[in-house]
Each structure stands twice: as C-alpha cells, then as structure tokens.
C-alpha cells in the first residue's frame, strides 16, 4: 500500500503554467522550428479530384527549378511496407489506413500526390506549383444525404469505443403509447480541428541509420512505432521528440501524412528534411464527421421518460470505419426502461474522419439535450427539473454504478450562479431593446478513465527533482500538474522540479487524448515519487544518529529539503545527508500506473457538467450573441484550478463556435472542401466571447484514479452547443436542429 501523501502545497492550488514563459517568449520549440545543418524542405502537392486515377504526373519543370532536390511521387517513391496493417497506429479505426504516394489511385480531394523537396521552403513551394497532373476522374460521392440509405453498423468495432448498448425494453412501443412525444432530425456540419500550430515534421538525419524526428503529434510513441513499421526500421533507430504541441484537439492522435513524407524523403535523400503543412493543407486530412441524427423521446405528462430512441449516421471514408460515441449519452444520463440507440456509418469519398475534442459527445448531446429541452417545453416542466426527474444513480447502459456522480450538484450550483430561478419559461418572454433574451441549459458527460502509463522520478542530493514521462502536453497543462505533484511529494518549490515530456526515450505513455492524461500520468508520477521517497527514507534512517531510526514512513513529512517527523519537525534528516548515508547522489524510480480491473468491472466513470447560457438575438437580422455562460463541472479532484479553468473555458469557446460558426463547406460537385482557410472557416474571436464562469463542484472519487482525478479535456465542450440552441429557442421560439446556427437559420 502506498504511503500517506505529503502535505499538498501546490496540488489543488492555482499555479501558472511552468512552460508559459517559454511559450510566450518563443523559447519553446515546435516541430516545424527544429533545424539541422543541411536541412532540406518539402512542400506537398495535393490532388484536385476526389476520386480516380493519376494518368500523368509531369515533374520535369519542377525538377528543373533552381534548388530542387527531388520530386517524390507514387512513381518513384522508395520502397515502403507493402501491407496496409503496417500503417496501423495506436488509435486508428478498423480498416486499411491511408498510404501516402502508394499508387496512382486518388481516394479523396486534397490527397497528397507529390512531395517537392528543395534547398529552401520557397524553392520547394515555387516548384510545387510547376507539377502538372492529369487525372482520369471517376464519379464520387461526398454528400452524406445521398448515402444514408446504404448506412451500416460497423462490422468491426474500434478499440476503446463503446458501441451502442443493446436495446432495452420496447422503445418503439413505449414511444407509441407515450402521452407526450417529441421527435426531430439533427444535422452537424463537418468541422476541421484548426490547431494554431499546423502539422509539421522535422526529421534530423543523424547518420548511421538513425533518425531524430520532431513531429506534431499527441503521442511520440505512436509516431515512432508507425515510422518503424512503415519503413522497416528498428525502434532504436527512430527517436521522436515533441516537447511542445500548439494545440492538438485530436488532430495529432493518428500520424498525419507529413510525417510519412518527411521520413520518406530523409531516408531517401539521406539528409535532414522538414515538411510543414499550410493552413489550407490542414483541411486535407482529419476532421469531425458530418453527422445526422434522429431523436424520439416519449414521456409522461410529468416529464418522466418512457422511451428514448436516438439514431445516428456519420460519414466515414471508403477505406476505414471511424467510430465515436455519439448516441450512448442519453442512456447513461437518464433513467429510462425503454431505450434504443443505434450508430451507423456511410462511406464517402473523403479522408477518414477522426477524433475531435470530445469525439461524438457534443454531437450526440446536441440532439439529446435539445430534445430534452423540447420535452421540457411540451410538458411545462422546468429544463433543470425535468433532468432531475429523470436522474439516474446507475449507468443503465452498462448496468453498473458510477464511480461518482455529482451531476445533481452541478445542476444546483450552476442554476444558482446563473440566476436560473428568475427565468420566465415562456419563449420570447424576455426582451431588452430590440434583442430577445434566451436562457438555455444542457447536461454534459464525458468518460473518465485512466490508461496504463509509466513515469520516472529522479531526486538528486541537491534537492532537485526530475519527473519524466513520454506523454505529450498539447497545451492542456500537463507539464504544470506533473510538476505540482512532484513538488508536493518532496515538499519542494515548483522551481526545483523539472518535468520532461514528449520523448520516446522516456517511460511509456499512450497518446494524450480522451481526457485521461492527468489521471494516468499524474498517478504514475505520484507512484514514482513515492518509490523514491521510500528509498530516501530508508537511507535517512541509516544516517548515523538518525532521528528517524525508529520512525515509520507514514509519520514523516518531506519539506524544505528535509525528511522530518510530522509531529515533531525538529527531528529531521536533510535529503543530502540521507543520500550520503546511502552512498548515492541520486535516487531514481520508474513506476507504472494501471487502472484497477476490479473497479472497471464494477463501475463506469464519467465527468459531468451542467451548462447555462444566455443569448441575445436580434431576430429581424438573425444575429446571435452569447452574452453569458456558467458551467458547473464535476470532475473529481482539481489539481490546478487555473489550468483546469483554461481547459473548460477553451471547450466552451469551441462549443460557441460549434453552435454558431464552425462549418467546413463541401462542394459535392467537386467533392472538395471549399472554405479552407482561417478567413472563411470561422472559429470564435474575442468579440464572440463574453462572460464565462466555470465552477468546479466538489467530487471525491478514487476509483477512476488513485489521485482522485477524472480529467477535464473534453467536458467543457460537450453540452455547450445544446445549451446555446436551447437558449436560442427560449429567446425566439425557434428550434434550430442544424449546426452551426448561422444568421440564415435564425432569421425570423
């Protein structure tokens, strides 16, 4: 059993990011910023048709351009792995992964079809415009509406993604008999991740067959094994180092094509190569799928649910079955005996969609929580009250208890802070000047989980600690919270702790995603620190005349570079003296954190939220402003209220974008996304964001992770879009079920 944790000085307190200064001063190095002597630059050429065959690829003019080293195409690419399974990665869905420059087939518009490598970026970019391509185009389909009839349940399930639960009761019969019914069709547009940092890879050719790879990703080990497998290299010959990531949001979970291209070019040219994607090229790989849903709720006049039916169809590529959890949430959030949830895919001539912040959840909850709001209107029951009436203490999808669930407190605290009790339930009843005011709310949920992760702690005689783990920090604050945990374990100042991340030579971590990193890497660091403390304590007891000789580990504290008796701090041994006694100048331990199998069998873990939104709508002109947001979140222990708040605020801002602005617009005639830049793909700007208040509700849970953490990466976004849609309905009486809710959809 692990010893009693040290006093918490940093954990639980707001702390600024330890990497903040490096980031704002430019000292933090990102993947496209690493350099090497003799660095060559690659620029990608993308297809302009959605489907067909490349009949001619004329690279003569490009090759003749000054400074050009090589133009790689499917015709001259070096030999890579033959089988598609060699291209699999840690989080990929079932199917046959995309293989860049594999052959003459074009399977989506924007597919990389050539890489021009030159002495400078400018030379490569200029020459790329000289590559001439002819195609034999085939008929394509990118419109989900036209493929819904052929939608299918994915035959192979994606690892880690719960398929919809088996139907329970008789949802259709109960719906038919229900005195109150609501039903609706919901659409969600394509969205692209648009992290500030574009995807980029710098491969440093180290000679002797060794590669040092800086790649924008959310997991260096995943990138390393992909490269090793595709190019037939030993893992020992490929080191991936990605200390900083300028936003991932899921786009860096799977290896993206610039990684393949940069490594391929470096191996072939035997020199260092960098490939950076342009903003426009960021629209030529992963995205959140276009998703259609139908929801039907049947209820008693008092709002008690009698039937839930939710059916989703999402687009995927021709070559992989991307899957996410879209429809399960209703069955987890509410008590209902008759539930039917289905999730189908439809194949389109697009790249494979992928995980984007809380994959599936904000889509599913947009539909579920809009329908619950509709039910509240139909029954005349307050939206918060109707959710309480259908509250469940058990995850009925899994027939398991929750590890913890403070959603009730979220509703209560959120409503109080927002002033929900002053709401007039009647739509169109609140107005100021020309603007209609609407108040809406929604519930949120996201899986809380822990993944097997290792970490190392190294304490030196000078009282400095290093903690290390291969996990990424994609901007979430991982560096900071691991530093806090390490500092508290030994009673150190934050400045005395160095945290190392994002390097394949460090202890094992899965990709950073799914909100699991704080729980997983945090626990691993805690365990490693505890192991070092035990070693240090043993040495301390051996010191000559040690005042700790007859003291047990649980009776001491670590503070100010000393190990002291908690009840009598005048009895202590300095860290340096303990080490000297043990004849060492450093102590190191590596530990692995694993989820408890027993708890996993018995319980399901979720974070929860209740989000309340005020919108002001100029109905005549269709203009919507989100003027106030209160989000009450129950996510277990909050390690750092400052970075935690940032996570949730970021999710809410994205939720505003999802609800009102974000949409990648496909031209189905061309099979191509058209608004592929920051000017025409709208993410929220400052003017779109006003007051956001985040409240963390107390929640004690050591079943998800021993350190009490549940994770925060996704919970901010999940209910936001639904709450905004519900607020717009309250303001205007208009129910918009098609995201984003742009001016044209609001025009009264």
């Amino acid at each position: 059993m692990s010893p009693i944790p040290n006093a918490e000085t940093h954990v639980g307190s707001p702390r600024s990011r330890v990497d903040g200064r490096a980031k704002v001063t430019g000292a933090a190095r990102y993947s496209g910023e690493f350099t090497a002597p003799d660095l060559a630059h690659g620029y990608v050429v993308n297809s302009t048709v959605a489907k067909g065959r490349i009949t001619r690829l004329d690279t003569a003019a490009a090759l003749a351009a000054p400074g050009v080293l090589e133009v790689f195409t499917h015709e001259n690419r070096p030999r890579t792995a033959w089988f598609s399974y060699n291209y699999q990665d840690e989080v990929g869905p079932p199917g046959s992964p995309f293989r860049p420059l594999y052959d003459d087939k074009v399977v989506y518009s924007g597919q990389p079809i050539a890489l021009v490598v030159a002495e400078t970026f400018e030379a490569a970019r200029g020459a790329a415009s000289l590559v001439r391509v002819s195609y034999e185009a085939e008929a394509h389909e990118t419109d989900l509406k036209n493929r819904m009839d052929e939608a299918y349940e994915p035959p192979k399930k994606r690892t880690g993604i719960s398929p919809p639960p088996k139907p329970r009761g008789d949802a259709r019969g109960a719906y038919a008999d229900a005195p109150v019914k609501v039903s609706g069709d919901y659409w969600a547009a394509y969205e692209h991740h648009n992290p500030m940092e574009p995807h980029a890879t710098t491969v440093v050719w180290e000679g002797g067959g060794k590669l040092l790879v800086h790649d924008k990703n959310q997991g260096v080990l995943n990138a390393q094994s992909y490269i090793a497998s595709v190019f037939g290299l030993g893992k020992g010959d490929v080191r991936v180092v990605t200390p900083f990531v300028g936003g991932g949001f899921g786009s860096g979970l799977r290896p993206q094509y610039q990684l393949f291209l940069a490594v391929m070019a470096a191996l072939e040219l035997r020199r260092s190569v960098r490939v950076v994607l342009t903003r426009d090229q960021m629209f030529t790989h992963v995205y959140r799928p276009n998703t259609f849903q139908t929801v039907r709720l049947g209820a008693n006049p008092d709002g008690a649910l009698r039937s839930i039916q939710q059916h989703a169809i999402a687009g995927t590529s021709q070559f992989e079955d991307h899957q996410e959890v879209v429809v399960n949430w209703a069955g987890t959030l509410y008590h209902c005996d008759n539930v039917e949830l289905t999730y189908k895919l439809a194949k389109l001539d697009t790249y494979t969609p992928g995980d984007m912040r809380a994959p599936g959840a904000p889509l599913g909850l947009f539909a579920t929580e809009s329908a619950m709001d509709e039910l509240a209107c139909a029954t005349g029951v307050d939206p918060v009250e109707i959710r309480l009436r259908n509250y469940t203490e058990k995850d009925e999808n899994e027939n398991k208890n929750f590890t913890s669930k403070e959603l009730r407190a979220c509703y209560q605290v959120g409503a109080e802070r927002f002033g929900w009790s002053k709401r007039n339930p009647e739509p169109r009843s609140m107005r100021e000047g020309r603007e209609l005011i609407g108040w809406g709310m929604a519930s949120g949920a996201w899986e809380a989980q822990m993944m097997k992760t290792s970490a190392r702690a190294t304490l030196t005689a000078d009282g400095k600690l290093e903690v290390a783990c291969a996990t990424a920090d994609i901007g979430t604050g991982t560096y900071t919270i691991l530093t806090q945990i390490g500092a508290d374990a030994f009673g150190l100042r934050m400045e005395d702790v160095t945290t190392k991340l994002g390097d394949t030579t460090l202890p094992y971590s899965p990709v950073q995603g799914g909100s699991w990193t704080a729980a997983s890497a945090g626990t691993a660091v805690q365990l490693a620190c505890e192991a070092v403390r035990e070693k240090l304590f043993k040495h301390a007891r051996k010191a000559s005349g040690s005042p700790l000789a007859d003291v047990k580990l649980d009776a001491v504290s670590f503070a100010d570079g000393r190990i002291e008796v908690t009840a009598d701090p005048s009895r202590f041994v300095r860290i340096a003296d303990a080490m000297r006694a043990g004849g060492v100048d450093r102590l190191e331990a590596e530990e692995t954190a694993k989820p408890s199998m027993i708890d996993q069998l018995r319980y399901t873990g979720y974070t929860h939220s209740a989000i309340f939104v005020e919108v002001r709508v100029d109905e005549e002109l269709g203009a919507v402003r989100v003027t106030r947001v209160v989000d009450a979140v129950a996510a277990g222990k909050i390690l750092n209220p400052k970075t935690a708040r940032s996570q949730v605020v970021g999710g809410i801002v994205w939720g505003i974008g999802m609800a009102l602005e974000e949409e990648t617009m496909p031209d189905h005639n061309l099979g191509r996304f058209m608004n592929h830049n920051y000017a025409e793909y709208h993410v929220p700007v400052n003017a779109d964001v006003q007051g956001i208040e985040v409240v963390f509700v107390d929640e004690h849970d050591t079943k998800v992770s021993p350190i009490g953490v549940k994770g925060l990466g996704e919970i901010g976004i999940v209910g936001t879009a639904a709450a905004i849609a519900n607020a717009i309905h309250h303001a205007t009486g208009k129910r918009v079920r098609d995201m984003p809710i742009t001016i044209d959809k609001v025009l009264g």
Partner: protein, 338 residues
Amino acid sequence: MNRFSYVRATDVAQAAREAGAPAAKIIAGGTNLVDLMKYDVERPGRLVDITRLPGLRAIEDAADGGLRIGALVTNTEVAYDRRVEARYPLLSSTILAGATPQLRNSATTGGNLLQRTRCYYFYDVGTPCNKREPGTGCPAIPGVNRIHAVLGASEHCIATHPSDMCVAMAALEAVVRVSGPGGERAIPFAEFHRLPGDAPERDTNLGRGEVVTAVELPARGFPAHYTYLKLRDRHSYAFALVSVAVGMEMDGGRIGEARFALGGVAHKPWRDPEAEAMLRGQAASRDLFERAAERTLRGAKGYGHNTFKIELARRAIVRALEQAAAGTPQSQVDKRIR
C-alpha cells in the same frame, strides 16, 4: 508562389511605366496580394513596390471643402484621422468594421480599392474559376455560394467585392484619382469597380499602367445621420454577408439628401439611384424604408446558399436607414445592433 523580380519605384511616372509591363503587379501594403501569391492565384513576374513614392501619404483638405486621401495612407490612419472622424464618420466606421488592427495598419487606401474577391473558388487553384482563368467556368453558381452575389451577377461570375471601406466611398460619391500612360484622370466611384458581365477577370476600370494616387471625398460627409451596419458570420474579423452604408441629411423629420450602398451582395458596392430618390423629401418612416429596400432588391437573384441574403439585405437596409435617420449609428465596438 512563383519566382518574381522586384523593383522599388521612386516616382509615380516610373511606377506607371513599370506597372504597364504585362506580368507586373503593383504592391503596397501587400495584405491581399501576398496571400494571393502564396495561393498561386496571382503569379506576377515583377513586383513594383510603390510604398516609397513621395506625396501619396497625406490626408489634405481640398479647396471645395472636401478631403483628399493619398493612396498610401493606411486604413488605420484614415479611420482615426480627426477630420475624417468629424466630417466623414461613416468612412471611419466602415474601416473599423473590417479586418483586424494588424491588417488595417498595413493596408492602404489604394490597395483597399483593389482587393480581390473572397470567392472560395477564386482562391483555390484546384478548381475552375472564370475570374482567375477566363473560360474555365464558375463552380460557385451550382456550388458553395454562401458569400456570393445576389445583385448584378452574371452567368460567368457571382463573386462579390469584399471591401467595407469602398461601401462608404460609394455612398460618399468619392472620386478616384489615377495617373497612367495617358496622364491623370478622375474616376467617379460608381464607375471604378465593374460588374462581372462577360469579363469577370476585370474587377475595375483601371487601365494598364494606371496607378491610383488618391481618393477625393466631396464636402458632403453626412456627419449627423449615417451608419454602417455589417452582418457577418461572426462578430469580428469576417467579411460581410450583407452590409449597408447610409449617409443622410435630415430637415426636421424630413429626409434631404439620402444615399445608401450595399456591401457583400455584388461585384461592386451596390447603389440604387431610384431607391435613394424615393427617400428624398419624404418623412422618415419604416414603411418608406421598406419600400426603398424592396426597390433596391427588385432584381435580386439567389443561388441556393446565398438566397437568404436577399431577405437579409432587405431588413438590413430598413434597419440601417432607421439608424441613420435617428442619428444613432451602429457602433463597431459594441456588437449589439442598434
């Protein structure tokens, strides 16, 4: 981006001479041209840098009570010029409704006139576009056309002019001064930009080798009754779906001179003389404004995604005329629409 040569012009005559060469392009603030070069939409063989030309950086009072704005005066300088703020607040307001401070600091008055459409297809060399490559077709007509024209478009092109500033310039009846191989000439603002017709590759009536040297504002600036109402897909840093610039003179409750121009709906800032004439001498009323809006949009045509703009423009005109008549112009800071 292609390889190009670069020359820094030292006087207007040299700039005009250099710019007259077939593959040459004038560059000033570069906020649009450099983007277009990165996208391979513009592939100039030679860039003629006019940023060091003397005499184009001043805002000067004109003898007729108007104001002369040099072509190289930045958007920021115009927007915050005391004389512009006092005498032409409509112009100041339109500039502040556009882009970002960073872009406005770099973008010039002449460049703003010459910025090119934001049509998705025009920007994407992987697609056909009659404006970019005449004769290849217009995929926007059957395609994605949310930001496209509903007035004055042609079967060849439904692109819009993206400027905010130009919408005010149109309402103010500014005059564009140009200098070129044929000497100097003045182009009334309404004749500066073109409708696409069968030559959508030509945005303006500027001749080859002609350099914009200044924009002249007539004395009438509508400082009391004006507004710029811009509707867009987010509250800042987005191009107009529909915008309306209004300049009005009021005599009691009665309208004197009245002008309004629309942005985001056509290949040029859109004015309708008949609709404006309906307002003059009339008492301000919602009914009157609705009739004027109706008149303005009588020939409007939607292409699917953008069809809502017709109704949106109708309502925006009414609201903007109300704002101007009441002397309560739209704030560009407070996003609440008055």
